[in-house]
């Protein structure tokens, strides 16, 4: 049957052939079903742009009923989880710099006494504002928490003070990014995102391409050893990775005026681990994939959760524990903390070590897997 030159038998021949090919390429088909499922789960369950239960430390110089109930009230609110009682100022600063806690509440000496006298004691809340989105809601509720607490606890002779504005003076210090500029957080993060995407894809197709073009058989018949082939394929892209890094860092500095507090050398050294980790992942994919399309799909399958679970798009602490655990596997997650730490917090090597070793571990595992999967024969 032909209608206006469109022949249905021929059209059906194409449709039928496409279905057969789709069925033959199981992996592609699986990805087509799998990727939406993963997206659904991640967006539906893991992503939360209103993070709660943020780790908070208390540095209290006042051991009164009031200060204790203030700490308690913080803990009862959904936003703050009091995880540590700090003893000294330096301890507090270390916790913030390492990202162990996101908030530190300072309760001054004679808090209760001043409160009762109506002297408006000042409570200082220090926040790690590298990611403004992660802290803003929590800080927004702080005043309410304090007001409600005062309302409840100021009874008896001091009821007169209720309702009057601010029996407690709340001071908020947003560290590292005082103006809450989103770019300060996004641009350094973008460095990791861009590298993850390009590095994994570029090497994922590297070996697959050799197999697809038939050059693999030739390469295998030479004395070249797996490690030589792998590392040979990785090195040129390390250089590409550094070129990308320079471009993004220059843009960060001159287009977005992102502060750079830490050491450039340290950052470049960490970049190496991060770049090689991603390249190794790509190489491993390319030993599994049968064609370049599959290699691309695998890269995407890796990239998507990296992007969503690393804390780049959505606050890491906002995710449920299971999602955080998955997120902690990806190099991007650790790299983000390192790069934000170095650029915005001025972190030095000891500060970033807790995030550097998971990155290194990932690198070692991915590279070993890749070399082991690369076979020297065609069996």
């Amino acid at each position: 049957m032909t209608l206006l030159g469109f022949n249905f038998a021929r059209w059906w021949a194409i449709v039928a052939k496409e279905f057969i090919q789709m069925r033959r390429d199981r992996l592609t088909f699986g990805m087509m079903i799998g990727i939406p499922c993963v997206q659904l789960i991640l967006f539906g369950y893991a992503i939360n742009s209103d993070p709660k239960h943020l780790p908070t430390a208390v540095l209290s110089a006042d051991h009164s009923v009031f200060s204790r109930s203030l700490v308690q009230a913080l803990g009862h609110s959904a936003y703050f989880d009091v995880v540590a009682q700090a003893a000294t100022e330096t301890e507090v600063q270390r916790m913030l710099a390492h990202g162990e806690v996101m908030f530190v509440i300072h309760i001054p000496e004679d808090f209760e006494r001043k409160l009762l006298r109506g002297e408006r004691p000042a409570v200082l809340m220090e926040a790690d504002a590298t990611d403004p989105a992660a802290t803003s809601n929590a800080l927004g509720t702080l005043q309410q928490i304090i007001d409600r607490l005062i309302d409840r606890d100021l009874t008896g002779p001091v009821t007169t003070m209720r309702g009057r504005p601010g029996p407690v003076e709340l001071r908020i210090h947003r560290h590292y990014n005082p103006e809450g500029i989103t770019q300060y957080n996004i641009v350094p993060g973008l460095l990791g995102v861009v590298l993850t995407m390009t590095m994994v894809i570029i090497t994922a197709v590297a070996i697959t391409r050799e197999r697809e073009r038939g050059t693999m058989e030739n390469l295998l018949s030479t004395p070249a050893r797996p490690a030589e082939v792998m590392l040979g394929k990785i090195v040129p892209y390390i250089i590409v990775g550094y070129l990308q890094t320079s471009a993004i860092l220059l843009a960060a500095r001159f287009l977005f005026q992102v502060p750079f507090h830490g050491s450039l050398m340290l950052l470049l050294a960490v970049m190496f681990v991060f770049i090689v980790a991603n390249l190794s992942m790509g190489i491993t994919f390319s030993t599994i994939a049968r064609n370049q399309l599959q290699a691309m799909q695998m890269s995407f399958f890796f990239f998507l959760p990296s992007l969503l679970l690393s804390g780049f798009m959505f606050p890491f602490r906002g995710m449920p524990v299971w999602a955080q655990s998955i997120g902690s596997v990806f190099p991007l997650t650790h790299f983000l903390r390192i790069v934000r730490g170095i650029l915005l917090k001025g972190n030095s090597l000891p500060d970033i070590l807790p995030h550097l070793w998971p990155l290194t571990a990932f690198l070692v595992v991915a590279l070993t897997l890749g070399i082991r999967r690369y076979r020297q024969t065609l069996d």
Binding site: R213, E217, T377, L378
Partner: protein, 310 residues
Amino acid sequence: MNPASTSFAIDVANVTKTFGARSVVNQIGLRVGIGEIFGFLGPNGSGKTTFLRILCGLLTPDAGQGQCLGFDIRTQAGEIRRRVGYMTQRFSFYEDLTIEENLDFVARIYQIPGRREAVQRSLERLGLTERRRQLAGVLSGGWKQRLALAACLIHSPQLLLLDEPTAGVDPKARRDFWEEIHTLAAEGLTVLITTHYMDEAERCHRLAYIAYGNLLAQGTVEEVVRQAGLATFEITGPDLPALARQLRALPGVEQVVAFGLALHVSGRHPQRLAEVLAPLIQAPRTLRPIESGLEDVFIGLMSGARDNFQ
């Protein structure tokens, strides 16, 4: 083992390789002398490529043992690879590299001393000098084959494994190619070559015929023909296709093949075949006995072998 301690470049026995339930190479034993050009023939999918891959260590055999250039094929694949030039059936060099860059890459992989000179020599030897800056991808079949051969030879291998090197190459280029192979063999290089062409088979010093994984015949051309014990008659005259159908049904007739304007009829018993044919052939048709050719023998071997797909 020392490569000099044996007079055979290839000496293997009982080599077997199965993929799933199908044995692609079935207990093949082969001895190829140093400096010999050994032809490997057989229908498509008969296991020729698999056997070559086993020899150069690209596949590990399931059973069998032997040596290639004095090195164990099971345990010393690395040593063998260094000394073997393997030319794959499909062009397997980098199409986005030039001829010179491809050769240079191979020379580096094999750590050729005096690399630049070696590449130049190789370009000159195969007449590729003028084309050295051309991308391999734009070359015609004949030039690709020259490049592949040049690349296989750059590390001065002792054994050349060529997998259908002349498929899709024009007759002139094919003849030049064989000239080159004979020159190399005269210099002491051993060549194992697979082909489908009978004229090429006749250019080899010795041959083996393999079908569906089994080695069916080996020896010189004369030996292979003699071993087959095939008698052949040539029939000419009108209306041969109808006659061919008729002949195929007769007892003692094993194969009837059309060769141009004649039919070749073969069977194992000359006496009986002549008796069966004589009454059917009257003027203007003619009947005369001829020497069995290699092609008659191979078609006979091939139809006699059972395809193990079924």
